[in-house]
């Protein structure tokens, strides 16, 4: 009974989807049909009769391509979860020059409106994604639309056939109904491979996008590195260096006072010793922030274990044996886990946490989970966004699930061969 229910459900859903696909893919052929009819109506005798219909076909297909493709993309994403990136060229900024004219990256215009309009058409004309959309709009009616039209056509045949008295007509009607029911769950599915094949960005487009992404990342990394070096310099300058100067001073004074005032000399020596200990402690903290010694000595898994021992939480660490990683990735993951644990302790008040490190064929998967109160989200200037940027340098990703009330689950994935 339940199985019958799911079958009916699948047939119903499949039928609706097939109808939608048929409707979405048919506007372009409809325009072409109008153009053909127009050409026939003007007659073959007139040598210019093809011109109007030809313009109609061009303009119609071009105009329809973007909405049709956008619809197909959203339908595929909604039905199958397959996300197909559009990859349109982004228009650059339109700026006003000192002369009062507007520069849009291509030409100077008198007004901002003209500049934007000019830029829009130039970008469209240059954009390979637009021509890909046109190609798709022309292909999809034959590649997916015809098949998707089978179930609705079957239903139409059934309605027409069963409404008529003749036996042949009724048989045809029954046949139509059977075909409609049998094909409904599958007919719309052809859209997915066709869309994936013809709608995704071409190699050149993907490459362009990748170059832009890498340029942005390189800029990010350079800025971050410069800031980090400045921080280290400042810490050393205000901390250890100043303390060593004070140490030297205290020792010089003690040397001077040794004969005349041994008690004060002794006190100075003690002070110097305290200063040395304090500067060591400072340097230790600094080193820990640059490159944690335990990470160098033991590798990622033990370093994460050491980290887990140091937070005031019950943390369980599980890891694949023999995890072999590049030191740069290890450091990124270590600091990522450290930040996530700190966040958890600071904001979520959990009582326990779980960290797992696992390596599959391609990726290192690190999961950090706590039983705190949840509600964490990624803000543009927040720590999680920064962490995501740092992982992106290694083509790594970060996903977070943190419903209010918890638990918070963070999953970091890094391709192991990204270096």
């Amino acid at each position: 009974m339940r199985q019958l229910g799911t079958w009916t459900g699948r047939i119903g859903v499949g039928f609706v989807r097939s109808c939608v696909v048929a409707v979405v893919t048919m506007p372009a052929p409809a325009v072409w049909a109008v153009a053909v009819a127009w050409a026939i109506w003007w007659g073959a005798g007139n040598p210019w009769s093809w011109l109007g219909p030809f313009v109609l076909v061009c303009v119609g297909t071009l105009g329809l391509s973007r909405p049709v493709c956008r619809l197909v993309r959203s339908l595929v994403a909604r039905w199958t979860g397959t996300f197909i990136p559009a990859g349109y060229l982004e228009a650059g900024p339109v700026v006003r020059m000192s002369t009062g004219y507007w520069w849009n990256g291509f030409s100077y215009e008198r007004s901002r409106r003209d500049a934007v309009l000019d830029q829009k058409w130039r970008v469209r004309w240059k954009d390979p994604a637009v021509w890909r959309d046109v190609r798709f709009t022309a292909i999809v009616p034959f590649a997916a639309g015809v098949v998707a039209a089978v179930p609705p056509a079957g239903v139409v045949a059934a309605v027409l056939g069963l409404g008529q008295p003749g036996l042949t007509a009724r048989l045809a009607g029954v046949l139509g109904l059977v075909v409609a029911i049998a094909t409904a769950p599958y007919a719309w599915r052809l859209l997915v491979p066709v869309a994936v094949r013809f709608l995704r960005p071409s190699r050149a487009m993907a490459m362009t996008e990748r170059v832009e992404e890498l340029t942005a990342q390189r800029a990010d990394a350079t800025v971050a590195q410069a800031a980090e070096i400045r921080r280290i310099e400042r810490d050393l300058h205000d901390g250890a260096q100043a303390r060593l100067v004070a140490l030297g001073l205290a020792l010089a004074t003690a040397e001077k006072l040794m004969e005349t005032n041994p008690d004060q000399a002794k006190a100075l020596m003690r002070e110097a010793r305290g200063g040395a200990a304090a500067s060591l402690a400072e340097l230790r903290e600094l080193v820990k922030g640059i490159s944690p010694p335990v990470l160098n000595e033991r590798g990622l898994v033990d370093a994460v274990r050491a980290l887990a021992l140091d937070v005031p939480l019950d943390v369980a660490v599980s890891a694949d044996a023999g995890l072999r990683l590049d030191p740069a990735i290890e450091a990124a993951v270590y600091f990522g886990v450290a930040e996530l644990l700190t966040n958890a302790v600071k904001h979520a008040q959990p009582s326990r946490a779980r960290i797992s490190l696992a390596q599959d064929d391609a990726d290192l998967i690190v999961e950090v989970e706590d039983d705190g109160r949840g509600g964490a989200n990624v803000r543009a200037d927040g720590g999680l966004a920064g962490l995501r940027r740092r992982l992106a340098v290694f083509d790594g990703t970060l996903e977070i699930s943190s419903p209010p009330g918890g638990p918070t689950r963070v999953r970091m994935a890094l391709p192991c061969d990204s270096l």
């Binding site: 010793r273 060591l280 230790r284 080193v287 160098n296 000595e297 033991r298 274990r305 050491a306 005031p312």
Partner: protein, 215 residues
Amino acid sequence: MRLVVAEDLYLLREGMVRLIQAYGHQVVATAATGPETLEALRRWRPDVSVIDVRMPPNQSDEGLRAALAARAEMPGLPVLILSQHVEQLYARELLADGSGGVGYLLKDSVFDADQFIGALERVADGGTAMDPAVIAKLLSSSSPSRGLEQLTEREHAVLALMAEGLSNQAIGRRLFLSDSAISKYTTSMFGKLGIVDDEDTNRRVRAVLAYLNKP
């Protein structure tokens, strides 16, 4: 005492040797790499050795590994591990065999020469010398179900010093309390924690550490 000093940085190694000799102890061998350290420990079986964690050839935790390997071969061989940083993880590994004669201190501890030599002597006697920072972390990270929160502030302080490896007299001197007061605190503390009280300092410390080190 006969000692082995294992440290890869020449300046530190020589400074340490000089300090130890100034207190009238004998350094029988020095080592600058992990394998050399293990070799020296096997050959000399020193009363106690001072070992740096990070040493060549790999600049990872060679010293610690050599110490652990030597103690696996010669149970209870006294070692004092010195490092620029202290990790609970390493402390737990050192304490795992429960046989005493273990020290784990920051390199800064040589600044107080008297205390440093005292720690060396304690370890040589089969006692322990743990860095206060490690003990503090061990105490704070043990799960609350252990009953640590039942301890008074004073008892907590006594427990921490005891875990570092100090005797009742030494704890009394640090806290400015009499021996009898300390033994009163320890009795009540052991009662609350369910550790069998014992006159022997080393066994007592080991009991405390085993207690803290429970997973």
